[in-house]
Symmetry: none
Subunit: 205 residues, 4 copies
DNA sequence: GATGAATGAGCGTTCATTCAT
DNA sequence: AATGAATGAACGCTCATTCAT
């Protein structure tokens, strides 16, 4: 029962039963269940039950199951975007910022394993709307810009930066995916070592 | 509408309507649709229609939708295993064999983009049976053994070989996934360059 | 369109739409259709339609078609058990109680011709659960005990009491079955005469 | 695996594979399966398999599953009719002929338990055609005529002879039904005793 | 004539969504 | 505003029937 407590920011709401609370509970419940069982295999009433609300309440907060799934997707994707931007905004040379990004994403993946699983181990095409797809593009673009910076600084090897990001991000996802499948256990050292490996993949030589 | 024509070998059958034909057509249709829409979002009648057979015919060849999905999974996973083994069986030094493996997998992914998408971009836990899971493990083990060889030869850096494979294979999947999402177009040179990058990720320094 | 109105007691509920109403309507509808067409030849949607509810509603009240059929079976069997026990609890000599039982069962069979048809003219083995089978056994045992009393009192002939009950109950069912098939019309006098005949079948001489 | 070997007369056909043989095999297979599982729960391919013929062959011998079931019904009903007529044609007083009838039916029921189960423990209305219903009426009429003879001879009590037959035949069916359900075991003495009881039910006093 | 692979209508059941309370 | 009972379209699967072989 992972809780994903702070995936979405509650913007400082009081404490009692104001609507946003239920919305958050629903996002959290949906994320957990989607990650565990897939979007298609998760009945809406189960989401409502896990969020401790009535089934009908789901439709007061989200227009449809698809809309809910898009909201979950965006909430996770934003969390990842933030981790990414935080890392890149930090100072230091290219390599340090890269490793910082790797650490930041890993911290997120460790704190919210369900989010990574939901975002990267599932097929979303069926229900993602344009906004969600645009958000994905933005995240990708942020990462691509980072690669380009590195290339301009002569530190990152000259290649299509999209491809470099795809390789790095793919390696990151692969690392956590196989851990999730139980093929090994990840500790901080392994994660950091993997990050250094990933850096070797893109560094100019 | 990719065709996946030769995913499963028709063992040199003549030309007309021998029984295995429909089974193959169903495997192909199921793969295409599962890759496109997910297992859960693909109705059995749609699979039958794409294979140009009646709905009931599916159940003459496969015990259930789950059994069909497992057969698809195994057929794809075997194709990948074969590509992997072929490459590793080739001669040459560690680096050449690694790049050969990358090329081999890429050839498979290019010929059968749906197979890779089905295998790696979806969540299969809900319906994979033990045999399928064992097959996944075998493929992983084959790759891990390759890494270990490289480590014994002093060419691959000392780290959990499972993690190294996860990184490499994740990078590979990421490369093709983002291409599929349209973020760039892959040509042979890009694929080869990506393979060399991946090699840098694991090479001992 | 027989109505079977009071097969199951509505425990004095007010008048409007309390939950149990639909359950009762479903039991009634299922009984009527099962009696008319057999369990296997009755689609669940037809039961729902006759009960004026949506198909899905059936599954809110019963776990499955089988569970519904068992509930119908038990409700009918209990009605019969009650008629049996009421009659046997009455005073009088053995003969009077026997005729009272015959009248009681006849009253039930007249009020609910479908119940008798469902219970006795069909093959239930395929779907009856243990509880239902135990209930059948209880009813049989009640009747057997009655026979044994008669034997102990020297009024009923000495023979396997199970056989005696089988003969009596078979005669009773035969009487109503052929009437249902239209071979004659039953009035109170015929029923009473038949009861006296049945008594002759078991009376000690 | 009861065989019901001679339920239907093979009218003196040679020995090799002439069509009537398959027809018989199908009737036998269908009877066994219908008695065991009900008409509705018996797939045609299962009948064909038990008769050791191809599925399609069923339709060379019978127009439809319904037609097959009617043929089975008639074949069993005729066997019963014959047992009934044989007994009634025998000499002796009314009581002896009645007991002879009871023995004859019992012999049939013992030799072919499936036939009795199929004829009397199932609900046939859904698929019986007019010819089958007429045959049922004939059998009933034969028995009614017997009752009338007894009444004319002053030996059988004056009551609707249809009702008397319904009682007698119901008792007979009840006797074998409960035995089939395992409530007791029938031996010749019990059967004869039951027949004498049944005679008491109708004898004039 | 005999076969059994193929068909598709129709089954039991689920679940996204609505709406009376 | 919140509920959860109700709905019915759509699912996975079966099987009476047909027809190419």
């Amino acid at each position: 029962m992972s809780s994903n407590a702070d995936l979405v920011e509650s913007p400082s709401a009081p404490s009692s039963s104001t609507p946003p609370e239920k919305r958050e509970a629903l996002l959290r419940a949906a994320l957990d269940l989607f990650a565990e069982r897939t979007y298609g295999a998760t009945p809406v009433p189960d989401i409502a039950a896990r969020a401790s609300v009535g089934t009908g309440t789901v439709y007061r907060h989200f227009e449809s199951k698809e809309a809910l799934a898009n909201a979950v997707f965006r909430s996770c994707k934003n969390a990842m975007h933030e981790a990414l931007r935080d890392a890149l905004a930090a100072g230091g040379n290219e390599r340090d910022r890269f490793l910082g990004m790797w650490q930041g994403l890993s911290a997120m993946a460790t704190a919210n394993p369900t989010a990574l699983r939901f975002l990267e181990l599932q097929h979303h095409e069926g229900y993602l709307d344009e906004e969600s797809r645009n958000l994905s593009d933005s995240v990708f673009a942020t990462a691509v810009a980072f690669m380009r910076d590195g290339q301009n600084a002569g530190v990152v090897r000259m290649a299509n930066p999209g491809i470099l990001i795809a390789l790095v991000f793919g390696a990151f996802v692969g690392l956590f995916k196989e851990a999730y499948l139980g093929r090994y256990t990840l500790d901080d050292a392994s994660i950091q070592g993997a990050g250094e490996s990933a850096w070797q993949m893109i560094v100019s030589r």
